[in-house]
């Protein structure tokens, strides 16, 4: 089956003008501007099937948002191919515009001085949504997002979390089949993040929508996406199963040990890599396959008296940071 979203060697370069600081710099820039090419996206390729939920991970400036903007038709590619449902996004055909939505956490489409429902009605007209369908969609979104009285309040009087919920609703009134969500939970408190996350998952289930989600919050991605695309400096570093990436980069479990009495640290070395060993606590990194066995042996050790033992997965943030730092190549097993 052909991919719904097809990206092949996509590149987007910007010309940015450089200005040196200070008055001398300003004058020089006035006379002779210096330009530098920024390769925001540099040869990115991936295919996404209908109904998939993908997480884009990458540090700031990696090229995640730029890629989404190309897929939305807001930006023209410098080179390469990007097609969605067979459409070329930057042609901005009405038929395509009605099929997707782009929600940018830091941008808004809601009219600031009016209640959210006014924006909904404008969108209904713009997307030519029949009355009955519109009412049904609003009701469902209200249920999923718990919008209630928010719709009648002026948008500028809503809190960030309330506004984000209304923004999401406004963006989904036309029941798009494809969602590009750019940092939808940014700045939200933990409860609201979970709420939005649940909503996105439910929307994907209920409507079979294809969703690309970018986020700095690992929890968003771990909760929702089986497949992630790691992007840095405009290039794809990894595209595949999330769990597999973790296991590849950090194929170990963390054992946190609490002793009844200070243990001899050298004895721990035979069970795994000793990360720390001080006083009554120690942290071991043990290869996954051997973790349970190592724990069992430690618990039964005659000399080492263990009071408490904890198994942990390596923190996702650390793993991803390792990938970004370039110290590990995620395509090669550790």
């Amino acid at each position: 089956m052909p991919a719904q979203i097809h990206v092949d060697q996509l590149s987007k370069h910007y010309q940015v003008h450089e200005k040196e600081p200070g008055l001398a710099g300003s004058l020089r820039s006035f006379v002779a501007r210096k330009y530098r090419t920024v390769k925001a996206v540099d040869g990115v390729s991936f295919d996404i099937g209908a109904g998939e939920m993908i997480g884009f991970l990458g540090p700031n400036g990696a090229g995640k948002t730029t890629t989404l903007k190309v897929l939305s038709g807001l930006l023209y590619p410098t080179s390469g191919v990007a097609t969605v449902m067979g459409f070329t996004p930057n042609k901005r055909e009405a038929a395509y515009l009605k099929q997707f939505t782009l929600v940018m956490g830091q941008k808004q489409q809601l009219l600031w001085d009016l209640p959210a429902v006014e924006t909904f009605l404008v969108n209904q007209a713009i997307y030519e949504i029949p009355r009955a369908e519109f009412d049904a969609t609003v009701k469902e979104l209200d249920q999923l997002l718990d919008l209630g009285p928010l719709l009648k309040k002026q948008v500028r009087k809503l809190s960030l979390g309330e506004r984000m919920k209304c923004e999401l609703a406004a963006a989904l009134l036309h029941r798009p089949k494809i969602l590009f969500l750019d940092e939808p939970t940014i700045g939200l408190d933990v409860t609201m993040q979970v709420r939005i996350r649940d909503f996105i998952g439910a929307y994907n289930q209920r409507y079979g929508a294809t969703i690309i989600l970018t986020s700095h919050y690992m929890a968003d991605v771990t909760a929702l996406c089986d497949r992630i695309v790691v992007i840095d400096k405009g290039k794809v570093l990894y595209d595949g199963n999330f769990r597999e990436l973790i296991e590849r980069i950090a194929p170990y479990k963390i054992l946190r040990l609490q002793f009844e009495q200070p243990a001899a640290c050298e004895q721990l070395a035979s069970y795994g890599t000793v990360e720390s060993c001080e006083g009554l606590t120690a942290v071991l990194h043990v290869p996954r396959a051997q973790a349970t066995e190592a724990a069992a042996r430690l618990l039964n050790h005659r000399e080492i008296k263990i009071d408490d033992i904890n198994f942990e997965d390596p923190p996702v943030e650390d793993v991803i940071r390792e990938v970004f730092s370039g110290k590990v190549n995620p395509l090669v097993s550790a």
């Binding site: 807001l74 808004q108 997307y127 940092e183």
Partner: protein
């Protein structure tokens, strides 16, 4: 499309009501016409200036004031702001050109202005001796058509200047510069009849007289022959067509190089 315009108009109306005080102040800003009237009245108090008696100035400026309000457009500023702040992006994601909302919002605001300006102008015209207008079915229809053409000229040229924001961050300077030129050459600072004949002849071929001076002169009786009327309409129409073509072409180019600002 009708439903979309109605939806935009509803929002524009709601926003207009929100910003009642602002609207009143903006209307007063077109008070420049009234100020210039005071200036010309003072100049002409002892006789006529270039064939204009005080009553003629009152007629010109009161009708001109109505035309000014009916053709008031601020779309250049809106475009500039939207582009610089990256607020154009959400608009470009919608399956409708952003220009339609600008048009609908503009028409809604007109309706409010007319309610205030029209009665005042009519009262002033009635109480001023010597302020005579030619009000016949022909002149009224011609006036309405000329004002429609004037609105198109002002709106399209404004949109064009606003689109400069795609390429420069200094658009404000260009907008102000353009407004200054328009103030002078469309007959706001002075009726074009005050200009030297050579200047008037040259101006006839530019779009500016057709933005205010031409519709105004239809009712004040300075367009005396049908031939004059048709030629003027012809020139106005050609300029509308030229601006329309340029706007479409420039928009296409602009969108090509548009980079959404910010994250």
């Amino acid at each position: 499309m009708c439903r979309k315009y109605l939806a935009f108009a509803r929002v524009a109306w709601a926003l207009t009501l929100e910003y009642r005080a602002q609207i009143l102040i903006w209307m007063m800003s077109s008070f420049l016409m009234v100020i210039m009237l005071a200036v010309w009245l003072s100049i002409s108090r002892n006789g006529t200036v270039n064939g204009f008696a005080p009553g003629d100035f009152v007629a010109y400026y009161m009708i001109g004031w109505i035309v000014r309000n009916l053709t008031a457009v601020w779309t250049a500023w809106e475009l500039d702001l939207a582009i610089r702040e990256g607020r154009l992006s959400p608009l470009l994601l919608k399956p409708i050109h952003p220009i339609h909302n600008e048009i609908a919002a503009n028409w809604v605001e007109k309706s409010l202005r007319v309610f205030i300006v029209l009665p005042i102008a009519v009262v002033v015209l009635l109480i001023t001796p010597g302020a005579s207008l030619i009000l016949t079915p022909l002149t009224l229809v011609a006036f309405i058509l000329a004002v429609a053409g004037a609105w198109l000229l002002v709106f399209l040229s404004d949109y064009l200047v606003g689109m400069l924001a795609f390429w420069t961050s200094q658009t404000a300077a260009f907008i102000e510069g353009y407004y200054g030129v328009r103030l002078l050459l469309s007959g706001i600072i002075a009726p074009l009849a005050m200009f030297p004949p050579a200047a008037q002849a040259a101006l006839r071929w530019t779009p500016f007289p057709y933005m205010l001076n031409f519709p105004t002169e239809i009712l004040t009786g300075r367009v005396t022959t049908l031939e004059q009327l048709f030629i003027s309409f012809g020139i106005q129409f050609v300029w509308v067509a030229i601006f329309a073509v340029i706007v479409v072409a420039v928009w296409r180019r602009a969108i090509r190089s548009y980079s959404a600002v910010g994250a």
